[in-house]
């Protein structure tokens, strides 16, 4: 019996390793190897046509001096203003939605629609809405308020606010669903106990709802920051060639330009590594700070 069991176990182990092998292989082939290769190319000057030349840390020195790197990094961080704005709006929406009245699931669906719409289609649609002369937004501003709207995507001062606006429109539905799930998991006994103690609506919100939702705030911030560091598609459509005075270019857009337009593979890899490390450390810091403010039960 004992022998038979080890025989079965040996077979089982073989199956287990076979079952976990593909993702591990995938990680080695498409994750680890490219990552190490990327470090290596970041020390080279290479256009993929002539053979690469070793330049040491030149690419890294160069990127720190490059005005466009600084600018695209600034733009990327600037666009993160949309994260807290989006959180406030999504939480407000979730609170409004968190009731069983007729038509509420229809409303949830409609607010969620922009989340699933292809980002390229959404960007094209907003490009038309934000057109200076004939776009819907400026027409409305003029007809209703007598305001002559700016050239949203053509004026360096307005490109980033426009991108934030579009980001809010297309993103709040997603976080709304997360907050809604969070609100529904808060036990009603907390509120009942607070009501007996004479707490008012605001006190219940700020002392019960908000603290109990901190795990969701944390998730939304962490994912939002990682996503914002990597934003590209909407920039590609809405800020062609980086937009006026490079005011709309993000870091990934900059990397894309250098790698796939100018074929500066070494330099682009160096910038990619700078971004990768930045994302890693910012996320790490967020996790370190989490136990100071995220509620765990």
């Amino acid at each position: 019996m004992g022998m038979k069991l080890t025989g079965y176990r040996r077979k089982e182990l073989a199956w287990l390793y076979l079952f976990v092998a593909p993702p591990v292989l995938g990680f080695l082939i498409f994750g680890l190897t490219p990552m190490l290769f990327s470090v290596y190319i970041s020390f080279q000057r290479w256009d993929m046509i002539t053979s690469p030349t070793w330049v040491g840390l030149d690419n890294y020195v160069e990127l720190l001096k490059d005005e466009k790197v600084i600018k695209s990094l600034y733009n990327t961080v600037y666009l993160m203003i949309g994260i807290p704005l989006g959180m406030m709006l999504s939480l407000l929406l979730a609170i409004l939605m968190n009731r069983s009245i007729r038509g509420i699931s229809f409303l949830r669906t409609m607010y969620y629609l922009p989340v699933i719409s292809p980002i390229i289609a959404v960007s094209l649609l907003w490009q038309w809405i934000l057109n200076q002369d004939y776009g819907l937004l400026n027409q409305m501003l003029w007809n209703w308020f007598g305001i002559a709207g700016p050239n949203w995507l053509g004026d360096a001062a307005w490109v980033k606010p426009s991108l934030i606006l579009i980001g809010l429109w297309s993103g709040i539905g997603g976080n709304m669903v997360l907050y809604l799930a969070g609100l529904q998991s808060v036990s009603s006994t907390y509120y009942e106990a607070a009501e007996i103690d004479g707490a008012n609506g605001w006190q219940k919100f700020s002392r019960i709802t908000l603290p109990l939702l901190t795990p969701i705030h944390f998730f939304v911030v962490v994912m939002g920051v990682i996503g914002a560091f990597q934003s590209f598609s909407q920039i590609y459509v809405l800020a062609v060639d980086g937009g006026p005075e490079y005011s709309g270019a993000t870091v990934v857009y900059y990397i894309f330009q250098h790698a796939f337009k100018y074929f500066n593979m070494g330099f682009a890899s160096a910038v990619a590594w700078m971004l990768g490390l930045l994302i890693f450390f910012v996320t790490l810091i967020q996790f370190k700070l989490a136990n100071r403010w995220v509620y765990q039960d």
């Binding site: 077979k11 089982e12 182990l13 199956w15 287990l16 079952f19 976990v20 593909p22 993702p23 995938g26 990680f27 082939i29 498409f30 994750g31 990552m35 290769f37 990327s38 993929m48 409004l96 939605m97 009731r99 009245i101 409303l107 607010y111 969620y112 629609l113 719409s117 292809p118 390229i120 289609a121 094209l124 907003w126 490009q127 038309w128 809405i129 002369d133 004939y134 819907l136 027409q139 539905g173 669903v177 997360l178 799930a181 969070g182 998991s185 969701i216 998730f219 990682i226 990597q230 598609s233 459509v237 990934v252 990397i255 894309f256 790698a259 890899s269 990619a272 590594w273 971004l275 994302i279």
Partner: protein, 278 residues
């Protein structure tokens, strides 16, 4: 009780006014796509196209290989989802239900891949794939997806570690059921809802993906629908042909919106689960 009712009415009122801002862009897009080009410059703008024309849809379908774009996107989605989900389900089952040497290290290593941004690996991957002569084919967009996806593995592992009782596996073992058969006949049916949720999310992710297809696909006939409609901008915006661009945008949106309406339950569920657990 009465107060509660009143609050509900206020909430409804606020949500309905917000709804205008959420759906106006869609309606405006549909409206523009049904206008002829000279009618889009009217002041004040008209919501109802007059005269109404479908010619933009016909034109864009004839001038841009949209059907090819759909097929290319569809090939990637179908292959990656069927193979990738099966592979992910297999390793999620192994990680979630069994103990074996190196399990912890392997799983942590895989979780680490979530931390690697695509921008770091896209350049070396491009170099590798161009060395294989795979540029301008769908292969670089399909092959990496066949090895499973750690986010999916993590999600399904969480799901089955509670949804699939160990006793069931033990009983099947005693009955002489082989390892792959237990997986296929017992674990897979239990995983179905989690797999459906991930399939719905995966469809959206792959269908809407842009950066990867943009890097690899250069010939219009080989591009995915997203790359095709993005390239329309360069072709038509110079002549301010917004109606044709809007028609293309609507065409690109229709499949995802259809899938969303049919699989809505799975979306909301999976998002909620991943949000709370994450």
């Amino acid at each position: 009780m009465k107060y509660k009712k009143l609050a509900d009415y206020w909430a409804l009122l606020l949500l309905l006014s917000g709804l205008i801002f959420m759906i106006a862009p869609f309606i405006w897009t549909i409206s523009t796509s049904l206008k002829s080009q000279r009618n889009i410059f009217e002041i004040p703008p008209k919501w109802l196209p007059d005269p109404l024309t479908y010619s933009n849809y016909v034109d864009v379908w004839q001038q841009v290989p949209l059907l090819k774009g759909f097929m290319n996107s569809l090939i990637i989605v179908v292959v990656v989802l069927t193979v990738g989900l099966l592979i992910s389900a297999m390793s999620a089952y192994a990680f979630g239900k069994f103990e074996f040497p190196l399990k912890g290290v392997l799983f942590l290593g895989l979780l680490g891949t979530m931390m690697i941004p695509y921008s770091v690996v896209m350049i070396p991957q491009f170099i590798g794939f161009s060395w294989l002569n795979w540029v301008d084919t769908l292969l670089p967009l399909i092959i990496p997806g066949l090895f499973g996806n750690i986010v999916v593995i993590f999600f399904i592992r969480q799901f089955i570690s509670s949804a699939l009782p160990n006793d069931l596996i033990e009983a099947a073992k005693i009955d002489g059921c082989s390892f792959p058969r237990i997986f296929w006949t017992i674990a897979m049916p239990v995983m179905k809802p989690a797999l459906a949720a991930q399939a719905a999310l995966g469809f959206m992710g792959i269908w809407n993906d842009f950066l990867g297809p943009l890097i690899y696909l250069h010939t219009p006939e080989k591009q995915t629908i997203q790359v095709l409609i993005a390239s329309m901008q360069a072709m038509y915006i110079g002549q301010s042909n917004y109606p044709i661009i809007m028609a293309a945008a609507i065409i690109a949106m229709i499949p995802v919106i259809l899938v969303f309406f049919f699989c809505q339950r799975y979306f909301i569920e999976s998002l909620a689960i991943s949000g709370i657990k994450g």
